[in-house]
């Protein structure tokens, strides 16, 4: 059942990206292009539409002892606002701004977006692996 919930969540997530058209990096770039004169606010509606059910879900989770098919809910966010958090977010933002893909939309577009999406996803996986390798070499637990 856990596996089915994972699959269903991933499928619904991907379909939501398709319906909202955030699967298209041109729409994302049009949102990020705040000074461009043809600013496209759609991503803000997507974010708003996603935050509402999720905010309700956190309330429901707080009132429950455990998830339906699991042992416990995630604990409070660990760690503070440090250089690693902000540095990572800045690197991610730079890549996001270059082509308009973040991990979710890139993966949901993988089979329908042609070779440029495959190139991006391959580089993204390499970037993730590089981060893990670097931490592993420094002996830091990931």
């Amino acid at each position: 059942m856990r596996r089915l919930v994972h699959f269903g969540s991933g499928a619904l997530f991907g379909l939501g990206l398709l319906v909202s058209d955030m699967i298209d990096p041109a729409r994302v770039l049009a949102f990020l292009d705040v000074a461009g004169g043809a600013w496209d606010p759609t991503l803000a509606f997507v974010m708003g539409g996603a935050l509402i059910p999720m905010a309700v879900a956190w309330r429901v989770a707080a009132a429950r002892a455990r998830p339906a098919f699991g042992d416990r809910f995630p604990g409070p966010p660990s760690g503070g606002i440090d250089a690693r958090l902000l540095g990572g977010a800045a690197l991610f933002g730079a890549g996001w701004g270059l082509v308009g893909f973040c991990p979710g939309p890139a993966l949901s577009a993988l089979l329908v977006g042609g070779w440029p999406v495959a190139v991006f996803v391959a580089a993204m996986l390499a970037g993730m692996a590089l981060h893990g390798w670097r931490l592993g070499r420094r002996g830091v637990a990931v």
Binding site: D24, D33, F73, G97
Partner: protein, 145 residues
């Protein structure tokens, strides 16, 4: 500004689907729907049930839009065809999301909805940097991206 009511409604509906998907994962199995976390987990397999769970989520995320495209037609994917740009962006997104412990889904949707200060700071940072990069590319390349 370009505003179409149908775009806004499609955005709200698609966003709600994303929010319900994340809620399903939280209330169903107690996990945060962070895409970079799921993929990062698959790159460092544990040999336990979590690997299969991550693979199942990813199969849904990649497979469902592809199946829908067979039925309703493929969506337009307006990605750049510059290989150096795609490679540089992919490396930055992959490395940055792992270093910063999250992306638009984990920090943006899941973290902001619980008012996590870390996620609010991360989201503000990647939004601001991305907008600055887009503005810089418009200035230097005339908006070629």
């Amino acid at each position: 500004m370009r505003f179409e009511l149908t775009d806004a409604l499609a955005g709200l509906a698609g966003g709600a689907m994303i929010g319900v998907a994340a809620a399903l994962l939280l209330l169903g199995v107690g996990r945060i729907a962070g895409i970079s976390g799921v993929v990062g987990g698959l790159l460092r397999p544990t040999g336990q049930a979590a690997d299969g769970d991550n693979a199942a989520f990813l199969a849904g995320l990649v497979g469902a839009p592809a199946l829908a495209a067979l039925v309703w037609g493929a969506p337009e994917i307006g990605a750049t065809t510059s290989v150096p740009l795609l490679v540089a962006a992919g490396l930055l997104v992959g490395f940055g999301t792992r270093m910063g412990s999250g992306c638009t889904s984990g920090h943006g949707v899941c973290g902001m909805s619980r008012l996590s200060p870390r996620s609010l700071a991360a989201t503000a940072t990647f939004m601001a940097v991305a907008a600055a990069i887009v503005a810089a590319m418009r200035l230097t390349l005339g908006g070629a991206a």
